[in-house]
Symmetry: C2
Subunit: 346 residues, 2 copies
DNA sequence: TCTGTCAATAATAGCGCTACGATTTATTTG
DNA sequence: CAAATAAATCGTAGCGCTATTATTGACAGA
């Protein structure tokens, strides 16, 4: 009996053109050494380093992060979930974070929750499938299942753009009620006593709601009158103009207006101009966001500038620290604060 | 000699809490069946499906996409590289694309090139490390190395937001020179003969440059005068106002102005208002972008509306088709066009 | 000369999953 | 009712890499 009877070459896999072994072979070292070189170059001799570098260049080797991640049980990806990147605030944070993370060769996986906790939950599940190095969520409010999913992960879970509630792990942001308070106090300092808050999409945007509540509270505390007029759609200048019209119809006595953000405020300014309502003499206006047009409009808009950029950078820093082993105390809270930009609209 | 001498349990790996085998065991099927169920549920019997579903829920199983991607030699990630997501145009595309891709359980890996081809190259390299299902780039201009890296990949390479040059694979967008032409022709139709183009960051923003060139060309073709005034920084209303001042100083005879985008145009409107320059009587203004404030400002801004949203959706569609095996002819070009929004500023 | 120590490198054993062929079971049909 | 066909399920062999341990070689001290 022929015991050399060979099985036919059974199955065949797809593959990557150039692998680490190819590099190793060309550089005349073992694959282990190539791997070591890629992860800790300082542990490899100068001669070997050079040979490997040369081989990588020559072969145009691109490491397979999935293989690496699988073997190391963690990937070079960071998942970030924001309501929407169309919103300039979150765009800013995402952008600054991506820039900071690139230096550590970490990549951003982006998801949009559209202010929907169910959506967020699904995205968290998908995100975890990548065994990310960290996961970043917007706000402190999440579904029970989301909390459960994240309760026991070994990676940093960072909640951004909101402070002041129970947090899963770390939180980076500021207190939105304080923003509202600051706006109200500012208007009152300008001798306004009939205050108004114009808000968009507040049924979904928890943080806008918090600003509104802080505003009302502070107004009440000083005995000023304060009303709210809102609109369910996403903030825009158009909605802002509409809200102003509605507001003046309902509350013609108003002399100080805070807006849930600068888009609304811009619309208010546009409407005031059309209707020859003097700003700030007849009506003081304050916004939130300090968007790109806010310093340039007529009159320049007083507004509260959040720290979207800083939030992203701090999140990246936290992730970096964790990666470098500095376990850091969990449940860290970083208050990035906000600043009042006093301009001529108030 | 004791041939039962056992080696000590050699090494130990980290691991994921719940794996597919755990699910299989609980559901009383083989891991293969679980895998099959996850990928092609219709190929598994109702009984098994139910048992597996139950087990997944019970164990809270989260598949490991890296293992899956490694085995399948391709991942559920799509890489998208844009200049910056702070730019509302790209934010729109990224957002609509993410929404469309989520339905197919594909995830977006985001990178910012900051208008730098070197940066882009590095990001492409990083992106390829994930064996993405597709890769999306902005524009048609890339470094030689980038082209080389992408020349032979088996996945769709989609270039967005620009048409009219040699493309790597598919391209989705529109012709920016046509935008410039449309703007010039519009102003000329409004009886303007002394035209001006105000541009920001044109040394980096190739597409803004193309719009400018189209504008100049069309003006020249009809015998109208056309000048350019530009500023190196990112577009903003502030820069727009500065550009207008500079422009009127250099070209006081101007009666029609096109802006590289609506931020600039908004700044122009602000400045005109401050200087009591009548728009459109003295000066007609047209922008590009149709941003959120453009319909609401004073006067409402005539502008050209691109199709950022559609670009994202079409890109997602292309990727989906490829995933479902419809090989589609390569080098596809999809012109998403643009529309002129004629409002009162012109 | 013989250890002992250290630095550099290599061999080994998977990480969790998918693709493929093989096998089993159910269903049909001559 | 056996044979042929179809449907459902399973077993196997990696995907390309990392982490750990094992090995090698150089050099020091005694």
């Amino acid at each position: 009996m022929d015991n050399t009877m060979r099985k036919p070459p059974r199955n065949r896999r797809k593959m990557q053109s150039v692998t680490m072994s190819d590099v190793a072979e060309l550089a005349n070292v073992s694959p282990s050494t190539v791997s070591l070189f890629l992860r800790k170059p300082e542990a490899v001799s100068a001669a070997a380093s050079q040979a490997i570098s040369r081989a990588i260049d020559k072969l145009n080797y691109v490491p397979n992060l999935m293989a690496g991640g699988l073997a190391a049980a963690s990937s070079r990806a960071v998942s970030i979930l924001v309501p929407s990147v169309r919103n300039a605030f979150f765009a800013e944070t995402v952008s600054s974070m991506q820039t900071a993370l690139k230096k550590q060769r970490l990549q951003l996986i982006l998801g949009h929750t559209e202010y929907d906790e169910q959506e967020e939950e699904e995205l968290v599940r998908m995100a975890l499938s990548w065994a990310p190095a960290a996961i970043v969520l917007t706000g402190l409010s999440h579904s029970a299942a989301t909390r459960r999913l994240l309760a026991n992960v070994a990676i940093p879970v960072i909640e951004i753009w909101e402070l002041g509630g129970p947090q899963i792990d770390a939180a980076i942001g500021f207190h939105h009620d304080q923003v509202g308070i600051a706006a109200a106090e500012h208007l009152i300092r300008q001798d306004r006593r009939n205050l108004l808050f114009l808000g968009a999409r507040m049924h979904q945007d928890r943080r806008a709601r918090q600003r509104c509540n802080g505003f009302l509270q502070a107004a009440k505390a000083t005995g000023a009158a304060a009303k709210v007029v809102e609109h369910p759609d996403t903030a825009s200048a158009e909605i802002g103009a509409m809200l102003l019209a509605e507001a003046l119809r309902l509350h013609p006595e108003a002399d100080g207006i805070a807006c849930s953000n600068d888009h609304i405020a811009l619309g208010v300014l546009f409407a005031c101009e059309r209707q020859k309502i003097a700003v700030p003499d007849r009506l003081a206006v304050i916004g939130f966001g300090d968007l790109s047009f806010s310093a340039a409009c007529n009159p320049p808009l007083t507004t509260i500038r959040p720290s979207g950029d800083l939030i992203g950078r701090e999140a990246a820093r936290l992730i970096e620290e964790h990666l470098h082993g500095e376990k850091a105390d969990a449940h860290r809270t970083i208050d990035t604060r906000f600043t009042l930009q006093h301009r001529r609209s108030s």
